[in-house]
Symmetry: C2
Subunit: 393 residues, 2 copies
């Protein structure tokens, strides 16, 4: 029997995460399925913005110590650590995902200085490829591409220093097997760097258990940190004694206020810090992370699977579009990508009709299902709008 | 005849910049002379913070284009360009000063790849030294120190690729001669990178006229952008065709939304962009820059000289402390540094008594005179507090 909107409403009624939706400001009249690009604002953000502005205006320079700004990269990092399977003191929030990839990949090749090949997937987010290319060139080495659909073993040998992997493919939402790939990379004597931009906050991530070497990710997608919110990086504790990064700064110095001319890296993750971080944006990210309070990642994942399964079923029943994302939910992140020959134009019409997904060149429509605030009736309504728009074409 | 507080009040009455002070929130009961570390909040900031939060919550992903977030690094960069003597399209706001120095210094040594020496002043801000060290090591080259008090010519030869200069010394406020030093550096065939962190906003800076190659600076000191506000970088237009930077990202790509696997740098200054910038912090910086509307930099500089001259005169008359900053106002930035053997303890007592300056290891008390909001009576009151605290010791 075909699914009805009432069925979806009843799924919402029984959703254990249902009340978390109220933690966000969601615009009226829009089905927002683009949290995989930019998460919405949490309701507590304006108050927290007032707080940081008040700290700044009243405490001025003393805010750095008395209001804890100095410790924010580590403190907010520890909150993200919990979401990505990392024991504390291995994660900082700072800079951008790209800069963090540059830092960690540089650190990785530094730890494997007898090797000169950097591997990245040809399907990786393009910026990651640019950075890998830059680092490979810098060490006088070579960039080797892991072709789509090939196992990582196909490109590993004893010349490979490091492999950059995307945990969830930004086009298709396919999940890479972090445990298996990291293990294969280690067996070849190389180091593994994972980009978690499309997985953190919606999938269980187990960096420590998988013995991942380094990881990076953004905070403005499923973590809802706001436009361009500072990114994070993870360094496995076993590397923290030896790993060095290429952009040393006084905030990462062992004793910053001595203002020594010789750089002595701090103990621990702090050595990956560079310059002063945008505290206002970071406080707002900190507020946004409250939305995860009491939300078990296993429950978030279960709802993500249910939402995307439902959406795919409705697409199959009513639209007959090609589903680019894996049909096996174990291999699919919290996103469904559809193919359409006129995807760019369809995307614009969908927005006009109140469905905000996004478009990726050349023919991909992406829909993100962020379980903290997307409902089952959202999935239904999205397909309604899709059906109407496609029916008119 | 000795100066009185009434004399200072009358200087304030006749100060053409006087009304600009009202554009800032200044805490009661504190003489704030630490704008050379963190500028105060401008009054228009809370409203602008509301605006960006409203853009985010209502526009969501479409804010990037429809609210102009995408163009902010260039648009705010153009506003800073005006303050540092740069024609537009040569400045972007992004990342941190440290990362920007890393990018520009890397670009500079890339343009002089037949040379391997990087020069920096031994008196430079330590982070700048760490970055110069890192870049020199990366190219298999050497870091050469310009000793305090020596002319830049003393270290120049045909092996020098690039020289990093601090426009205003962070300890002493001494101004370097940008025109002369840049010319000498060019005569030796090297490139000049200037750090403007302690000069932008309070001194006339003439990057284009001096034919400076690259420049960087922070925005949280005299530009009042807020704690850890994003930094800026300048690339002289004559280098924009060839210069490349080591952290390529999709925002600097010639056609970012094609999402190509091959990096093709954008035309112009955009190629120095890397990842998504913290838009909320950047909007607040944008608001803060309004404080410069109608404030001619020559008038700001004239007031800065008058304030620091007055302060030094009062210090000489009443305290007899060693003035570390140049007595010649032409050679002194908008800061006066004093020496005291127990500077750290004195600093803390001064704060308790309502004078916020700062302390730099080992024996320096720094006082910043930001002409937009510091008054002549502030200078008087600061010396009163200093006299009381030192008198008790």
């Amino acid at each position: 029997m075909a699914i009805t909107r009432d069925d979806c409403a009843s799924l919402d009624d029984n959703d254990p995460l249902r009340s978390i939706r109220d933690r966000f400001v969601l615009p009226d009249g829009i089905v927002y399925l683009d949290g995989n690009s930019l998460g919405p604002m949490a309701r507590n953000v304006p108050t927290r913005a007032d707080t940081i502005l008040s700290e700044w205006s009243s405490r001025l320079i003393r805010g750095w110590m008395e209001e804890g700004w100095w410790e924010l990269p580590l403190r907010v990092g520890a909150r993200i650590a919990r979401l990505i399977g990392a024991a504390p003191e291995q994660v900082i929030v700072s800079d951008t995902t790209t800069t963090n990839l540059y830092k960690t990949l540089s650190a990785a090749v530094g730890l494997r200085s007898d090797r000169s090949v950097v591997v990245i997937e040809e399907s990786a987010f393009p910026t990651d490829i640019y950075v890998a290319q830059s680092v490979a060139r810098r060490i006088g080495g070579e960039l080797r591409m892991l072709l789509r659909g090939k196992p990582v073993e196909s490109v590993l040998d004893d010349t490979v220093a490091a492999v950059v992997m995307n945990h969830v493919d930004f086009r298709t939402a396919e999940i890479a097997d972090m445990a298996a790939a990291t293990s294969a990379i280690h067996d070849a004597g190389a180091l593994a760097i994972w980009d978690l931009s499309h997985s953190a906050g919606v999938l269980p991530v187990a960096l420590d258990v998988c013995e991942v070497d380094f990881a990076v990710g953004c905070t403005y997608k499923y973590l809802n940190g706001g436009p361009g919110a500072p990114a994070y990086l993870y360094v496995n504790a076993r590397h923290l004694g030896e790993a060095t990064q290429p952009i040393p700064g006084w905030m990462g110095h062992a004793d910053p206020f001595l203002m020594e001319n010789e750089y002595r890296p701090s103990e621990g993750i702090r050595r990956f810090l560079t310059g002063s971080q945008p505290i206002i944006s970071m406080r707002i990210l900190d507020a946004a992370l409250d939305a995860y309070d009491g939300a078990d990642i296993a429950a978030v994942r279960a709802k993500g699977i249910a939402l995307t399964d439902l959406f795919i079923e409705l697409v199959d029943d009513r639209l007959g579009l090609e589903v680019l994302s894996p049909r096996d939910s174990d291999r699919r992140g919290s996103q469904v990508s559809l193919r359409h020959p006129n995807a760019a134009a369809v995307y614009e019409t969908l927005v006009d009709r109140g469905l905000q997904g996004d478009f990726r060149n050349p023919d991909i429509l992406r829909f993100g299902f962020a379980p903290l605030y997307v409902s089952f009736t959202d999935a239904w309504d999205a397909v309604e709008i899709l059906a109407a728009v496609l029916g008119e074409r």
